[in-house]
Symmetry: D5
Subunit: 95 residues, 10 copies
């Protein structure tokens, strides 16, 4: 099933810049893997916020939670999950 998730990133302001940069690099790498695998279906930045909105595909909230815990930045994330139900309109053809 699909889930929408708003992910707010709260890095401590006094984090060592090198450690922060390394964390961001590892986060980007993990993001690429999940994007490549189709777990992340879509992703946007929320303008003005240190936050992203992601559309995830996962079998259940339990496996979604495992995805979240695989993020290197997980200890610094506050995530709000919205479960989504399919809509019949998506069965219609595109022009």
């Amino acid at each position: 099933m699909e889930f929408l998730a708003r992910i707010d990133v709260n890095l401590p302001p006094d984090m060592d810049p090198g450690a922060a940069e390394e964390l961001r690099t590892r986060e980007r790498e993990r993001g690429k893997e999940l994007w490549g695998a189709g777990v992340i279906q879509r992703i946007w930045r929320i303008p003005g916020k240190r936050a992203v909105l992601g559309l995830y595909r996962a079998e259940s909230a339990t496996s979604l939670q495992e995805v979240f815990e695989s993020f290197p930045m997980y200890p610094y994330l506050d995530i709000t999950v919205y479960p989504l139900a399919d809509h019949a309109l998506e069965q219609e053809p595109r022009h």
Copy 2:
């Protein structure tokens, strides 16, 4: 640009059933046109609510508003719009 929109449907409970059904049919037809044209990129039902979540592509909030006003059900809709900014991860290849 892309917009996320939550659309709550508030048909009056005492609406004539025939008129309500005709309105729903016309709404579905308009939905198919917008889906076919790619204006509606994705659409989901919000479980438990008389509401949908839609991902729209429109040049501006002004043209998005024109899309909303083209819905036959527009007088009965309460819509909340969230502007979205692109995320670099979407430039990455899928496996």
Copy 3:
């Protein structure tokens, strides 16, 4: 997976009493079927409110929504869904 759902019942105050009673009877019957089948795992009344809290088992938000739409009272319900992830403690033995 499991979902917690708060279900608020908003019967119109001027509903015909006989129609309301018949609706309640049909709702109870549907409830018994879902309870018997284990779709409703647990159910409580929220004290002071015309509302119940239910623990549902469903494959996805899409099938949960189908369950909701099978309620005779569905047009009068406002439902808020909370997705739940498993907790390791439940693997432990009861005394």
Copy 4:
């Protein structure tokens, strides 16, 4: 009676890792005791949050509070309690 409780865990980000790990171990042990004794009837993780949802059985809010204070992590918990009333449907037979 039964109570639903949302428990948010707010460990200080600069807590000594060894002390944090020892605290988690002791918390798990206490959790097993309460689970084994049936005080914790059900427990779930709230996806994306450092929080759990628990279904507790206790004689009163006073004894529930004693349970909470027996958690090694209690000084770091923010707990919201929802009292629950029984629902007649639970008297029905399972298939």
Copy 5:
């Protein structure tokens, strides 16, 4: 155990005045019984609101709910319940 309950009264504005008055009379009678029996421990009006705050003594949320349903005005009430735990200070002597 003790519960605090805020009770908002929403009589329909177009209710027949005679029926409303009779309902208020019956509500007062039921209130006297519950007050006399010590189920209602304390009761206040919330200034400016069509609402009261009541301190109730009941064995559980289930029996509290039965008390609420015994109110003649119950169909018109919106009640919010707060469970209370005992405080050690109340064991101290009054001067």
Copy 6:
């Protein structure tokens, strides 16, 4: 007149344990005085929170504020005050 007050206690997590214990002792002593004098009419713990709910008798908000400022812990308290009006039911006899 009577006031209901929710008092949240926010001791700094890094407070010296001895100083915290001494503060709690002094707070208890002041509590006993106010309880003994009938200024605190009733007091409960809010389950799961570092907070109490108190029923106070004071001539005005000004004298209630003086009571609050007499608490040794006052600098660490966040207090929300609800003014209460008398209810006629309390004139009725107890059985």
Copy 7:
């Protein structure tokens, strides 16, 4: 003591215009009495709202509630009360 009160006026939209006008006239008369007597110390309109903000002098919430119930429009008012404590600065001289 002094209380600040926000008073929202919710006249039913389908009220008979003559009855509404008569009600407004009687409300103004009662307002003049309370103003003249110093019960209403100050009064303002909240711009854009069908609401006023009033500064009241009353011995207690109980007598304030009696003032509110003396308003002809009371059945149509939603009032929120804020208790106020004196501030030492008001003892200072004006230039």
Copy 8:
């Protein structure tokens, strides 16, 4: 025109006591000047909060903001401003 302003005071808990006391003294002095000049028309303490409610007279929000910035404590204040419109009742005579 008149503005109502709620001013919450957030002095850092670890502020040097001497510096805090000196700041409070300077704040009181500035308060006396503004009170004397009639810029502060009325002022109250909000019971239980480290906050005051003030009634200000200023030509515009711009000049009100200049008043706020003249407070020695301004860096530690969180202020919420409510614009007020005159009410005709204040033209009436006091008895």
Copy 9:
């Protein structure tokens, strides 16, 4: 001074269509006058809502309220007002 105002339009759903259209025409005429006079400095539609956001110039909240009451639709409007203070950047030259 300048005020930002969000204006929500709540025409009754069962209003006579001819009367509604006439009201809209008169509202547009009044809008043109206020726009022409510079009282309305800027105006936008809030996408998805039956609401506009307006930037008003008025001497005080009292005169702003008079502007609002001059709207033919005023009885159906819910308006929220935000007072604005000047910002020094606006003194800078445009390129």
Copy 10:
């Protein structure tokens, strides 16, 4: 298109005063550039808050986000964005 943005400034209270002043100077310079270029159409201070309200012109939320990230103070800003749709009244002539 146009966007309204509320920008709250959260400089750490223990920031080095020289560094803070230099940051403010650079922020002002960037502000002048964006004002000069018409990206910032209007800007106000929110009275009582460490916050401004800005009216921005940008092609999309993506380019607006680039503007935000060009602010030297961006790491300390919390920004809330409101998309705006054009209103027909702005086509009318000024007197």
